[in-house]
C-alpha cells in the first residue's frame, strides 16, 4: 500500500505545480511497472518493454492530452485561490470596520458628505451643461447665428436671424439637410373648460421643416410639416408635447381634432409628439408648437416676413460628411450676398454710409454646436457650476485627508497585528491589499450614502435655478453617467485616502513593535504625516472660506445697492390684455381701467404701470439723436427706453428732479391701420434720467428735443418734459446707463403692462387682493408673475444667491471636517504624551503651562496652513473675479474675517484636548508604566 512521501517534497510545490514533469513521471512509472511484471512472467527485457508499450498505446498522444487537462486544472485552481483571497479580505475588512464602529462611522460620514457634495454638483453639470436634445444624432445639429454690427431691431440676444435672411439661407445653402427656425413665446392657453382660467405655458413658433430636421415624430396624429408653412395666418394648427398631453388632457386618445385657444386664437390640435422631446430649451419644457406662419396672428408675436427684425433662433442639421467649419466657409459668401441685397431694403434708405459699410464688413455668420438646443440656463450657469465643482472637489479632498488621518491613527494602533502577520510570512503586498480593501469598502459605503445625500440635495438646489412658475425637465434622479461618476470618485477616494496609511502602517519595523514597550505607541513617521494632512486641511478650508466670504460680500453689496427706487412695500404683476384678444386703443383702456381699480383699493398708496418690468432682464433699446449734441462717429447713443403711466414714478419712489410727470393729457388715440409718420414711434414727450442729461445735454434739459434713430438727418421731435433719478433697469449690479421714458398712453402698439403698487401694509398680504381685482375686471386676462418687488430683486440675484449660499454651506462643511482632523491629531498627541505631561506636572508645571504646551502645537499647524493658503488664494483669485460684484478678489476684510473665523474654530478644536491634558493626574499618568 501507499506510504507517504517525505514532507520536504511538498515544498517543491511552492514553486508552482510542474504539470509536464508530473505527467511524464506518472506514465514512466506505468510503463516500467508493466515491464517489470512482464519480465516476472518470463519475457525477455526487450520483449517485455515492447509488449508494455503495445498495451499502453500512443504515449505521446496520451501525454499531450493529460498535460492540457492538467494545465487547465491548475489555472482554475489558481483563479479560485485568488478570488477566495479577495472574499477573505472583504470579510476580514468588514470585521475590522465593525470592530471600530465610531471610527468607521466618522469616516463614512466624512466621505458621504464629500461625495454627496460632488455628486450633487456633478448632477447639475451633467443635467445643465452636458445634456443634449433627445433627438437622433444630436451632434449633427448646429446653431446658426450672426455676430457683429447690425442695423435695426431685434428680439432676444441680438444674434438671431431675420425671416428673409433665414429663408434665403434655407433655400440656397448646400451644406444642411435642413435649416429650421423657431421663436419661443408664452401664450395663454385655454382648453375650453367652463371655469378654466387661461394658463401661460411655454410654446414655440416653428418652421415647417422643424420636426423633420430634428427627427421627431408624432405618436398621435401628425407633426407640423412644410404644408403648414405656406400662408401667413392660414394654418391654425397646434402640436402638443407628450407630457402636456398627459397632464392637461389625461392622455385622451381622441386628442387629434380637439380645439385649443392659443392666446385667444382658436387652433386645432393635430398631433402629440413622441415622449421625451420638450422643445429646444432643455431647461424649460415647451408644451405647444404652432407653425411660424401664425406669427403676427397670435398676439405678441412678430408676423412674417417682419423684414429687418431679427427674431428667429435658427438651427440646422449638417449633411453627412460636412463639418461645421466647412458649413461656415460655404455660408460666408452666401451671407455676404444676402447682406448686399439687404442694403437695398427701404430700412437702409436713411442709413449713413458708415452704418451701411459696417453692416457689410462687420457682420458675419457663425456656426456653433447645437446639440443642446437653445438653453440660456447653460450659458448662465456654466461658470458658477465649474467654480462650485472646484469647491466641492476641495471639500472631498479635506474629507479624504480626514479619513486618511483616522486610518493612520488606527494603523498605528494596529501595528502589532500587522507586525505579527508580517512575521508569520504574509507579504507586505498582501497586507497592503487587505488594508486597501478596507478603505475601498469605507469609500463604497460613503459613496452610497453620498448618492442619497446628493439626490436630496439636488432636488433642493433645482429650486434655486429654475423658474418655479414653469415646470423644469431637469431631474434630480441620478442617471447612468451620475452613477458612473459617483462610482469612479468613490473608488478614487478610497485609493487616495487608503494608500498612504496602508504603506505607512506596513513599514517593516518589526522588532520595536513586537516588543511594544510601556504601552506607548511607536510612531514618528505617521505623526508627521498626520500633521501634514491637517495643515493641508486647514489651508484648503481657509481657501474655501475666503471664496465663500467673497461671494457673500458680493451678494450683500448687490442686495444693499441703491436701485434708484424704493423696493419696500412695493408689489408688481403683469397683465397682457392682447392675450385675451384686446387690440389697439382697448389695450390702453384696459390698463387705465385696471390702474383706476387698483388705486381705489383700500391700502394702496400709489400705483402706476410700465411697458417693461424692471429687473426682468429684458430691455428695449434704441439709438437716438439729441438736439445740439454731436456724438462721435461710432457712438450710436443707445438709450434704454420704457413707456410708463402717469404716477409711475411716484409709485416706484423714483424722485422727479426737474420738470413734470406725465398726465392723462399725454395720450394719443390711434385709429386702426393708421401709419406712423416717423421713426419716433409716435411719441411726443419724454422724461429722461439724470445720466441722460449728464451725457447729452448742457444747460436746462426741459424743453430740449431728441429723436429715435441715429441716421443722418434724423428728426428730433420728442420734447423732454422732466428729469428723474437714475434707476436699475435689467439687473441691480449693472451700470446705470441713460434712460428715457415715454407716455404709455401715447404708444401705438401697446401690449402687456407691468403694474407697480405701493402699499401701506405688508405687500405680501395684498397679492391676493390684486389677483381678485384683475379677475373682477376681466377673468380672461391672467395676472403674470405676481410678487413683491423685493422678491423680484432677490430673483434677479438668483445666481449670486446660489453661489454665495452654496459656497458658504460647502466651506463651513469643509472647515468642520478640517477641525475634526485637527482635533483628532491633537487628541492623539495628548494621549501619546500623557506620561510626559504627567512628569512635567509632577515637577511643578501648572495647568496653563500644560495647555500652552498643547496649544503651541495646534497653533503651529494653523499658522503653517494659513501661510500656505494665502498665496494660493491670491493666485486663484482671478478664477472667481467675474462672479464677484463690488469687491476685489483679494478684499482684505474678507481675508481677515476668514482667517479669524478659521483660527477661532481651530483654537476651539485644539482647546478640548489641551484642557484634557491639563486635567491629567500625574500619579495616574506615571503609574501607567
Amino acid at each position: 500500500m501507499m506510504t507517504r512521501i517525505p514532507a520536504w517534497r511538498r515544498y517543491a510545490r511552492f514553486f508552482g505545480a510542474d504539470v509536464g514533469s508530473d505527467v511524464d513521471e506518472e506514465l514512466r512509472f506505468h510503463l516500467e511497472e508493466k515491464t517489470r511484471d512482464l519480465i516476472a512472467r518470463g519475457l525477455t527485457p526487450d520483449a517485455a518493454r515492447a509488449e508494455a508499450q503495445r498495451q499502453f498505446g500512443d504515449t505521446a498522444e496520451v501525454r499531450e492530452l493529460c498535460q492540457t487537462l492538467g494545465v487547465s486544472r491548475e489555472r482554475t485552481l489558481a483563479r479560485r485561490d485568488y478570488w477566495s483571497g479577495w472574499t477573505q479580505d472583504i470579510r476580514y475588512a468588514g470585521r475590522m470596520l465593525r470592530k471600530a464602529p465610531l471610527v468607521s462611522a466618522v469616516a463614512i460620514l466624512s466621505i458621504a458628505l464629500g461625495i454627496g457634495a460632488n455628486t450633487a454638483i456633478f448632477t447639475l453639470l451633467d443635467q445643465i451643461l452636458f445634456r443634449k436634445l433627445p433627438v437622433p444624432e444630436p451632434d449633427r445639429l448646429v446653431r446658426v447665428y450672426t455676430e457683429g454690427f447690425y442695423y435695426g431691431a431685434s428680439i432676444g440676444t441680438g444674434r438671431e436671424l431675420s425671416y428673409p435672411i433665414y429663408k434665403d439661407l434655407r433655400d440656397r445653402n448646400q451644406v444642411f439637410s435642413g435649416l429650421f427656425a423657431m421663436f419661443p413665446f408664452t401664450p395663454a392657453i385655454h382648453t375650453g373648460g367652463r371655469d378654466e382660467t387661461a394658463e401661460m405655458i411655454a410654446g414655440e413658433l416653428v418652421t415647417g421643416n422643424y420636426f423633420r430636421s430634428l427627427g421627431i415624430g408624432a405618436i398621435r396624429g401628425r407633426v407640423i410639416g412644410e404644408d403648414d408653412d405656406r400662408v401667413r395666418g392660414g394654418h391654425s394648427v397646434a402640436v402638443i408635447s407628450h407630457a402636456y398631453w398627459q397632464r392637461q388632457f389625461g392622455g385622451d386618445p381622441n386628442i387629434v381634432g380637439r380645439a385649443l385657444s392659443v392666446s385667444n386664437q382658436p387652433m386645432t390640435i393635430i398631433g402629440v409628439l413622441e415622449p421625451g422631446f420638450d422643445g429646444l430649451n432643455l431647461a424649460s419644457a415647451t408644451k405647444v408648437f404652432v407653425p411660424l406662419t401664425m406669427g403676427g396672428t397670435i398676439p405678441s408675436t412678430p408676423g412674417i416676413p417682419a423684414d429687418g427684425l431679427r427674431w428667429l433662433k435658427t438651427y440646422a442639421r449638417l449633411k453627412p460628411g460636412i463639418t461645421p467649419e466647412q458649413a461656415r466657409a460655404s455660408l460666408t459668401p452666401l451671407y455676404r450676398t444676402l447682406r448686399e441685397q439687404d442694403l437695398a431694403d427701404v430700412r437702409f434708405s436713411r442709413a449713413s454710409a458708415t452704418a451701411k459699410q459696417r453692416y457689410l464688413n462687420e457682420n458675419h455668420v457663425v456656426i456653433a454646436g447645437g446639440a443642446a438646443g437653445f438653453t440660456p440656463l447653460q450659458a448662465q450657469m456654466r461658470r458658477p457650476l465649474w467654480v462650485l465643482m472646484a469647491i466641492v472637489a476641495g471639500v472631498l479632498l479635506i474629507a479624504c485627508a480626514n479619513v486618511a488621518n483616522l486610518l493612520l491613527a488606527r494603523g498605528a494602533s494596529r501595528q502589532r497585528e500587522v507586525a505579527l502577520r508580517l512575521s508569520l510570512g504574509a507579504t507586505r503586498g498582501r497586507i497592503v491589499r487587505q488594508l486597501l480593501v478596507e478603505s475601498l469598502m469605507l469609500a463604497a459605503a460613503g459613496g452610497v450614502a453620498g448618492l442619497l445625500l446628493a439626490t436630496a440635495g439636488v432636488r433642493f438646489l433645482l429650486r434655486f435655478m429654475t423658474d418655479p412658475d414653469t415646470v423644469s425637465p431637469i431631474s434630480a434622479t441620478p442617471d447612468y453617467s451620475v452613477l458612473m461618476f459617483t462610482g469612479a470618485i468613490a473608488m478614487l477616494t478610497g485609493l487616495l485616502f487608503g494608500i498612504v496609511p496602508a504603506f505607512q502602517s506596513t513599514k517593516p519595523a518589526l522588532a520595536p513593535t513586537l516588543k511594544d514597550l510601556a504601552g506607548s505607541v511607536v510612531g514618528g513617521g505617521h505623526v508627521r504625516m498626520r500633521k501634514a494632512l491637517v495643515v493641508s486641511q486647514v489651508a484648503l478650508s481657509l481657501l474655501l472660506l475666503i471664496g465663500a466670504g467673497l461671494f457673500l460680500r458680493s451678494l450683500n453689496e448687490l442686495m444693499t445697492l441703491d436701485l434708484g427706487f424704493k423696493r419696500e412695500h412695493l408689489l408688481t404683476f403683469g397683465g397682457d390684455p392682447t392675450l385675451a384678444g384686446y387690440k389697439g386703443q382697448r389695450v390702453k383702456q384696459y390698463a387705465t381701467d385696471l390702474l383706476a381699480k387698483v388705486r381705489a383699493t383700500p391700502g394702496v398708496e400709489a400705483a402706476g404701470f410700465s411697458r417693461l418690468g424692471v429687473l426682468w432682464g429684458g430691455s428695449w433699446t434704441n439709438s437716438i439723436t439729441v438736439e445740439g449734441y454731436q456724438g462721435k462717429d461710432d457712438d450710436r447713443m443707445y438709450t434704454r427706453l420704457n413707456a410708463v403711466s402717469p404716477g409711475y414714478f411716484e409709485a416706484m419712489g423714483i424722485p422727479l428732479l426737474m420738470g413734470r410727470d406725465f398726465t392723462e393729457a399725454d395720450s394719443r388715440v390711434w385709429s386702426p391701420g393708421e401709419a406712423r409718420d416717423d421713426a419716433d414711434e409716435g411719441y411726443r414727450v419724454a422724461i429722461v434720467s439724470e445720466e441722460f442729461v449728464k451725457r447729452f445735454i448742457t444747460g436746462n434739459p426741459i424743453g430740449r428735443h431728441f429723436g429715435l434713430g441715429n441716421d443722418p438727418g434724423t428728426p428730433t421731435k420728442i420734447e423732454i418734459v422732466g428729469v428723474v433719478k437714475d434707476s436699475a433697469y435689467t439687473w441691480p449690479g449693472e451700470e446705470r446707463l441713460q434712460q428715457a421714458y415715454f407716455p404709455f398712453l401715447e404708444s401705438q402698439d401697446a401690449g402687456s403692462a407691468w403694474f407697480y403698487v405701493r402699499t401701506a401694509q405688508d405687500p405680501e398680504a395684498m397679492l391676493e387682493t390684486m389677483r381678485r381685482t384683475m379677475r373682477e375686471l376681466d377673468p380672461a386676462v391672467p395676472p403674470l408673475q405676481l410678487r413683491t418687488v423685493d422678491a423680484q430683486v432677490r430673483r434677479s440675484l438668483g445666481n449670486q444667491r446660489f453661489m454665495s449660499s452654496l459656497s458658504m454651506v460647502f466651506s463651513v462643511l469643509a472647515t468642520l471636517l478640517a477641525m475634526v482632523g485637527l482635533y483628532g491629531v491633537m487628541a492623539y498627541g495628548v494621549t501619546r504624551r500623557t506620561r510626559e505631561i504627567g512628569v512635567r506636572m509632577a515637577l511643578g508645571a501648572v495647568a496653563p503651562r500644560v495647555i500652552w504646551l498643547i496649544m503651541r502645537e495646534a497653533l503651529t499647524l494653523i499658522v503653517i496652513g494659513v501661510a500656505i493658503a494665502l498665496p494660493a488664494a491670491w493666485w486663484l483669485s482671478s478664477l472667481v473675479r467675474s462672479e464677484l460684484y463690488g469687491v476685489t478678489p483679494t478684499d482684505p476684510l474678507t481675508v481677515i474675517a476668514a482667517v479669524a473665523a478659521l483660527a477661532a474654530v481651530a483654537m476651539m478644536a485644539g482647546m478640548i484636548p489641551a484642557m484634557r491634558a491639563a486635567r491629567i493626574d500625574p500619579l495616574q499618568a506615571l503609574r501607567q508604566d
Partner: protein, 118 residues
C-alpha cells in the same frame, strides 16, 4: 492476440475507474491491471486511455491525486475517491443496472412487435 473487444465508451471507463478506486487509493497502473484482470482483456484495449480519464475526473472533483511511494518504494501518483466521486459512482451504478435490465428484457423477448393495422 487481437480480439473482437467492445469499444469502451468514455462513460463506462469512468465508472470502471471509480469502481476500482472505491476499494482505496490506487496508482494508475494498479487501476489498469485491476480492470484488465476482471474483464479478461475484453474492455481495456489501450492502457494509455486510462490517464486522460483520470485527469478529467480530477478536474471534475470526483477523485483527487497525491504523490506517494509504491510497494517497491518508487514515487507514484495515488488517486482516491472524493465524497462527490463516491456519490457519482453510486448514481452511475444504479443507472447502469436499470439500463442493462431494460436491454436484457428486450433481447430475451419471445414475441415480436404486433403488426400494424392500416
Amino acid at each position: 492476440m487481437k480480439k473482437a473487444s467492445l469499444d469502451v465508451v468514455r462513460g463506462t471507463l469512468d465508472v470502471l475507474i471509480l469502481r476500482a478506486l472505491s476499494w482505496g487509493p490506487q496508482h494508475g497502473y494498479a487501476v489498469s491491471q485491476w480492470i484488465r484482470e476482471r474483464t479478461e482483456d475484453e474492455l481495456l484495449v489501450e492502457e494509455g486511455a486510462l490517464y486522460p480519464a483520470l485527469y478529467r475526473m480530477e478536474s471534475k472533483g470526483w477523485i483527487e491525486a497525491e504523490w506517494g511511494a509504491s510497494d517497491n518504494n518508487r514515487r507514484a501518483k495515488y488517486y482516491s475517491l472524493t465524497a462527490e466521486g463516491r456519490r457519482h459512482l453510486k448514481q452511475e451504478l444504479a443507472t447502469w443496472e436499470r439500463y442493462t435490465l431494460a436491454v436484457t428484457r428486450i433481447l430475451s423477448a419471445t414475441t415480436g412487435p404486433a403488426p400494424r393495422r392500416a
